[in-house]
């Protein structure tokens, strides 16, 4: 051991509670300051679709039937296309010169604003379709509201995405019905999947300062109204699928402020590896 290391000569005065020169004060705000609410809103919308689209794309070529491979790839394509439009618009509004690829490939997990639901692993086909259904129902209702936003750019991208989301919802709710009311095994698997994902649904409807500020800038969403309609829609499909609505009310949240489950980091590690290995390259 060197004398220097033993004596801690060069270390800042941690023991005395002093901040080293030029560093931040030790007492800080509970939450990071809110940026442009429309950019935040578009990150939420875009990241939801990017991450879910990526999850679906993991399945390309591995589906239970060939027709479903085609359908899954189609939904992945729609979602990633929607994400690209939303992140492009976010980058333009942000004005820092980041395009959709810079936002998708060069942000870290804590900078992603997707909900926890979409980053959950594919699991079995029941889990994939349960996740899709729970999200699609939310997505259709949310995009329907946003398609009437007074902000023209957001209204346009929402209206275009809404058409695709309606098709996705039809597809995923049909699978919830088939699996829920299919065989004993498929029923058990679908019930388990709905149960496992339920705790990630509460977050979808939590209004925070972003919603309020975005509403003031021309992109209003009434999340409690969306939740009421989502409840009706989900209850109806679950009932017809002979499935029980989970009764647990303990919900996980954090995605909208960058506090994700551990799954997201692994997803991004895969997604971003080539782009980050060659910074500045064009593809």
């Amino acid at each position: 051991m060197t004398a220097k290391a033993a004596g801690h000569d060069d270390e800042p005065g941690i023991a005395a509670g002093e901040a080293a020169a030029g560093t931040r004060p030790v007492a800080g705000a509970r939450r990071a300051a809110l940026g442009d609410p429309l950019v935040e809103l578009l990150f939420r919308l875009g990241d939801d679709r990017l991450i879910l689209g990526h999850r679906l794309s993991e399945l390309t070529g591995h589906g239970p039937i060939l027709e479903e491979d085609i359908a899954t790839a189609n939904m992945a394509l729609d979602l990633i296309g929607q994400a690209a439009s939303m992140l492009k618009l976010a980058g333009e509004l942000e004005g820092k010169g980041r395009d959709e690829d810079a936002l998708a490939y060069f942000r870290d997990a804590v900078q992603f604003r997707n909900c926890l639901l979409v980053e959950q692993p594919n699991g079995d086909f029941a889990q994939t379709m349960a996740r899709q259904f729970l999200f699609d129902a939310y997505s259709v209702l949310l995009l329907d509201e946003l398609s009437r936003a007074s902000h023209a750019g957001i209204a346009a991208v929402a209206a275009k995405s809404l058409k695709e989301a309606k098709y996705h919802l039809r597809h995923s709710s049909e699978w919830v019905l088939r699996l829920g009311d299919g065989t004993d095994e498929s029923h058990a698997r679908m019930q388990r999947a709905i149960g496992a994902l339920w705790r990630f649904t509460g977050e979808l409807f939590v209004a925070d300062e972003v919603e309020a500020a975005a509403a003031a800038k021309g992109a209003a969403v009434d999340l409690s109204g969306v939740q009421a309609r989502w409840d009706t829609m989900v209850d109806d499909v679950l009932a017809r699928a002979t499935l029980r609505r989970p009764t647990d009310t303990a919900m996980q949240r954090g995605g909208r402020s960058g506090r994700h489950t551990e799954h997201l980091g692994h997803l991004l590690a895969t997604m971003q590896i080539v782009a980050r290995s060659h910074p500045g390259a064009t593809w």
């Binding site: 070529g61 591995h62 060939l66 992945a76 959709e100 690829d101 699996l179 065989t183 095994e185």
Partner: protein
């Protein structure tokens, strides 16, 4: 063909009519009488083609999650999706020959059916997505453009449609290669490495040399095939060399040179020992490819059962309501 001596008289007449159609260049349609041997050869070729589309989803699917831009990610998903569509389309085409696609699919799963040897090579870098589009789809197009004039109508029509999409895939692949070639030194190196790995397997896609191709003579006479394996391979080399030159890529063959007399690009000897090993199931990824297809099939069993059970319940419900 001489009618076999013990063939019934009506079959002799049918066979003569079939041969006359072939000679006149007419297409054979599902309802037409055809020799069993013709039916068998078509079933073999079309099912191998369909299997190749399905297995071919795997090496490219391997890079969907790592595609380096959103645009590339979307076009790769769309390409693999097209392959699923081609597979489905050709399986249905094969059913016009009186076989069940599920039986054919089971032959793929149990390893008794063949598919294109190229898909038993691993995809090791992003550049492989460009090179597969350029060389593998390029080779497929050379094959399929000729198959679009094949004597069996449903197969010919499927090829016309599929060729259009394959052309698009090839352009997309070549564009990835051109972008990498004009990119950073690391990107150029990645591309050259991918070309080095895929060049010879792409040449093998045309099948064994004519002198070792047992089915060729018969297939050519029936106008199922319109050109020999070696003719198509030469055509592919002639088309591809200038494309390599245009983006400054080296092809890994020291014997490659232009022959003024024949106006062909002469090329070196193919390692046929490697080709036959891969065909036999000993290629680098044969086991992985079949394992992946089997896993998807096994994992999906309960889903298919559920879909059937649900459909039956719904049908019963409709019956009850109607009664």
């Amino acid at each position: 063909m001489e009618p076999t001596p013990n063939a019934p008289a009506d079959e002799t007449a049918l066979n003569a009519a079939f041969e006359a159609k072939i000679a006149a260049g007419d297409s054979i349609e599902p309802k037409d009488w055809m020799p069993e041997r013709y039916r068998k050869q078509l079933t073999r070729m079309m099912s191998q083609h369909a299997h190749s589309e399905i297995v071919g989803m795997l090496p490219e699917g391997n890079w969907i999650t790592r595609a380096p831009s959103l645009r590339r990610k979307m076009s790769l998903i769309a390409k693999v999706q097209d392959e699923a569509g081609h597979g489905l389309y050709i399986y249905c085409g094969t059913e016009t020959l009186g076989v069940d696609r599920f039986d054919l699919y089971n032959q793929l799963l149990d390893g008794s059916a063949k598919y294109s040897s190229i898909f038993n090579y691993p995809t090791l870098s992003w550049a492989d997505m460009g090179v597969i589009g350029w060389l593998v789809d390029g080779a497929a197009i050379v094959n399929q453009t000729v198959l679009a004039k094949t004597s069996y109508g449903p197969y010919a029509r499927a090829m016309v449609r599929i060729c259009k999409e394959e052309n698009f895939h090839k352009r997309q692949g070549y564009e990835i290669c051109a972008t990498l070639a004009a990119g950073t030194p690391a990107q150029r190196e990645m591309l050259q490495d991918a070309v080095n790995r895929f060049w010879w397997p792409a040449l093998m896609m045309f099948g064994p040399s004519d002198k070792d191709s047992p089915n060729s003579a018969e297939l050519l006479r029936w106008r199922v095939k319109r050109k020999t394996n070696d003719e198509l391979r030469q055509r592919f080399v002639n088309l591809t060399v200038p494309q390599a030159q245009a983006i400054g890529i080296t092809l890994p063959d020291p014997d490659l040179r232009y022959n003024e007399a024949t106006k062909n690009w002469d090329f070196g000897e193919i390692d046929w020992a490697e080709f036959f090993e891969v065909i036999k199931g000993n290629g680098p990824c044969n086991k992985e490819r079949l394992a992946a297809r089997n896993k998807a099939h096994d994992d999906g069993r309960w889903v298919r059962e559920a879909a059937t059970a649900y459909a039956e319940k719904q049908a019963k419900k409709r019956q009850t309501e109607a009664a």
